[in-house]
């Protein structure tokens, strides 16, 4: 088990204000949930602030809040997941290339267009010269980074890992994917996400970070016990097998799970997979979901872990995420099951460290 000894989430919810989000959920009526951003002047020198793209700002401020929470100045290694990374800078550069007809194109957006620059920015700000990795594979981006973090800490070469999941909504990307039905029409309340019987979901974004170590301490929130990914399952029964095998490998069965946190996103084309699991494998479990809070994005499972860790520490479940009224007991094991368009499936087990 890895211990979460620091965390931070910049999200469309008031997640930077302690436990406020347990009481106060922000309602949106757009199909695009954008982050409530911190005052970036606290995180950057004025010159750097002027130059930095929005995703670099989101990334570094999320990382810094997490490091402060863990009372660590320089992380020992950095693993990052981002699905769309710095694509906005790429697009800006592409527009400029076309506008300028490939002559005298200003290079600044190109410099910030490399995906690795989010993690590189964190390395530069902290002076961490060790291991630095960026995974970018749709809804496996954060899971891959987490798996790497688990390996790193088992290898005992580094004392801690700063693990992050960062994605921003990019207007052009949003528009193009809206064209092929990935998003709902605007005007739906995020709090009614599952009641709107239509195709598509609502877009989201976030910058979520964890400081992971091999040992627990005073500031430990919870432990990450295991992660498993699988792709393109042929049918529902193979998903059930994956879930059961995953739990079995961890020495657990479904009844040991105190809360199942599901990636339901309101898309009628794909949510039936979750409902199938809710009726079968998880029929006796307390069930919850989270994407009405953060929207759908490639690294949203990082937000789910953040939520799980907060709930385990507080031993409380915010009303807004609950899907059924199974009685609440002690929150020891939370299972997160997420899938992206029935292609990238992931299982994450978060547990109490006590």
């Amino acid at each position: 088990m890895l211990f979460i000894n620091g965390l931070a989430a910049i999200s469309p919810q008031p997640t930077l204000n302690g436990d406020q989000f347990f009481r106060e959920i922000k309602e949106y009526d757009t199909n695009m949930l954008q982050c409530i951003e911190p005052d970036y002047r606290e995180f950057f020198h004025p010159n750097a602030l002027r130059r930095a793209s929005r995703v670099l700002k989101l990334g570094w401020s999320g990382a810094k809040i997490c490091l402060d929470d863990a009372k660590i100045k320089i992380p020992d290694s950095i693993c990052l997941g981002t699905g769309k990374g710095c694509f906005k800078s790429t697009e800006t550069f592409l527009f400029s290339v076309n506008e300028n007809k490939e002559e005298f194109v200003p290079p600044s957006p190109f410099i910030q267009s490399a995906h690795g620059s989010i993690a590189a920015q964190i390395a530069i700000q902290t002076g961490c010269q060790n291991y630095n990795m960026t995974y970018s594979h749709r809804a496996f981006s954060f899971e891959s980074a987490l798996l790497d973090a688990i390996m790193l800490l088992q290898e005992r070469k580094y004392t801690n890992v700063l693990l992050g999941g960062v994605d921003e909504i990019q207007e052009i990307q949003f528009k193009t994917f809206e064209r092929i039905g990935h998003y709902k029409k605007p005007g739906i309340s995020n709090l009614q996400l599952l009641n709107d019987n239509s195709q598509g979901t609502i877009a989201g974004e976030g910058s979520t970070f964890f400081l992971l170590e091999n040992s627990s301490g005073k500031n430990t929130y919870a432990g990450i016990k295991a992660v498993h990914t699988f792709s393109n399952p042929p049918d529902a029964s193979s998903i059930k097998t994956e879930i059961n095998n995953f739990l079995q490998r961890e020495g657990l069965s479904a009844e040991d799970i105190d809360l199942v946190l599901l990636g339901l996103n309101g898309d009628v084309l794909f949510d039936h997979i979750y409902y199938d699991m809710m009726k079968t494998v998880f029929s006796e479990n307390k069930q919850a979901f989270f994407k009405h809070l953060c929207g759908e994005y490639h690294t949203s499972s990082a937000f789910a872990i953040w939520l799980a860790a907060k709930m385990i520490r507080k031993q409380e479940i915010p009303e807004t995420i609950l899907l059924n009224d199974q009685p609440a007991g002690k929150l020891s094991n939370i299972l997160i099951y997420n899938h992206y368009r029935n292609v990238n499936h992931s299982l994450l087990l978060i547990g109490s460290h006590k």
Binding site: A123, I150, R179
Partner: protein
């Protein structure tokens, strides 16, 4: 997770680059000292005629035939290149054994841009190119390759710019060592893109002529395209008669210096090389050949040469950059050069650093230009350094 697993073996490899299609064609051109860099013919860009590139001389249609794809709907050039290289790498692989857990980890950086730069106007105004929308993504090519090759296990994609593929190889090896997988298809793919060509051009680090790595008068790099994959396996599953060599070391570091430039003192590149040597248990003196990153850009070559002197002293082993052969294929380049490293071991060869004339003033080492016979090559180091100061070194050894 399972117990530590010892050695990692390379049991297959495949490649397509401007040097040719398949491993034998690469070797032939490398031996003959023939470059793949030339005028740009396929890519639509106003820079064609001004800049040269290591472009693969096939249209996408021709690549689709070579790749034998079942479904070309919405496909990207990078995915096609990847399938061609992956098929060659896995041609002798037995997929039917469910006991062998097989995954894919790919590195790519320019891939997501090739379709968006062609079709963005359509994406934003009409439905004619909708099939390509989902290819604006780094995981796309990996998922297409997995589908075409029938890989159902773990899949992931790394994007750390020019060290992406080297990092994919390293991550695959670590997953085997941790007992998470038995066999991984590792490598990378990147197609030539207008965005990348213009980006490096705007940074003024493209040599209008052929690149001249480690030369005093170097002016920058040439962009290329290509894909390469290795099959790496655990000791338990690798068949003895299939073993090409061992992946004996790997190491990564980050400079924390600048978003695009390497630190000028060579500390960052030295750290990656040192980490790889530590992992392999080899002494610097045991390395016979270094396939350098050597892009031909002013800053990067100097950092690498200084790093080499830090680790190996003034008597560095033979080293050369093969980028004057292929161009800099960005996200996939670490995989192309991993294949070249295996070829060096198999054939006791060191490839010449083309276009080198005059040594750099700041260092006393110079690259190999190809006048030595009767070499023995037992251990090869391959360096890949990326934007953001993400540095990775790999070591391949005779098994």
């Amino acid at each position: 997770m399972g117990e530590k697993h010892g050695h990692i073996f390379v049991t297959g490899m495949g490649i397509i680059s401007s040097l040719g299609t398949g491993v034998p064609e690469q070797l032939e051109k490398l031996r003959a000292g023939e470059t793949g860099i030339g005028p740009i013919r396929n890519l639509e860009t106003r820079l064609a005629g001004k800049l040269m590139a290591g472009e693969i001389p096939f249209t996408d249609k021709k690549l689709a035939r070579l790749a034998r794809v079942t479904d070309t709907k919405g496909i990207s050039r990078g995915a096609l290149l990847g399938i061609i290289a992956a098929r060659e790498a896995m041609k002798d692989t037995n997929f039917n054994d469910p006991q062998i857990r097989t995954g894919i980890i790919s590195g790519t950086t320019a891939e997501a841009m090739t379709n968006i730069e062609r079709y963005l106007k359509d994406f934003l105004s009409n439905d004619s190119k909708n099939e390509y929308i989902e290819s604006q993504d780094w995981g796309f090519s990996t998922e297409v390759i997995a589908r075409e090759l029938g890989i159902h296990g773990y899949m992931s994609t790394i994007n750390t710019a020019c060290s992406s593929a080297a990092n994919a190889i390293m991550t695959g090896a670590r997953m085997i060592k941790h007992g998470l997988l038995d066999r991984v298809l590792v490598g990378g793919t990147d197609a030539l893109s207008k965005v990348m060509l213009n980006g490096f051009h705007a940074l003024m680090i493209v040599d209008p002529e052929s690149c001249k790595p480690f030369d005093r008068n170097r002016q920058g790099l040439n962009i290329g395209e290509g894909a390469a994959y290795l099959v790496i396996e655990s000791e338990r599953t690798a068949r003895k008669d299939k073993i090409l060599c061992e992946l004996s070391g790997y190491g990564n570091s980050n400079e924390a210096y600048h978003l695009t430039a390497l630190s000028p003192d060579g500390d960052g590149t030295a750290m990656a090389m040192n980490n790889a040597l530590e992992e392999s248990g080899l002494h610097p003196g045991e390395i016979d050949y270094i396939n350098a990153h050597g892009t031909g850009s002013l800053n990067s070559d100097l950092s690498e040469a200084l790093g080499l002197e830090k680790i190996f002293g003034k008597n560095a082993p033979l080293f050369s950059s093969t980028k004057p052969f292929t161009g800099h294929t960005l996200g996939s380049v670490g995989a192309l050069e991993a294949v070249f490293s295996v070829l060096a071991l198999q054939n006791n060869l060191v490839f010449p650093n083309l276009n080198f004339r005059q040594p750099m003033e700041e260092v006393s080492i110079q690259p190999y230009t190809g006048n030595t016979s009767g070499l023995t090559v037992n251990h090869v180091m391959s360096n890949s350094f990326g934007f953001g100061g993400n540095n990775t070194s790999l070591i391949f050894s005779k098994a």
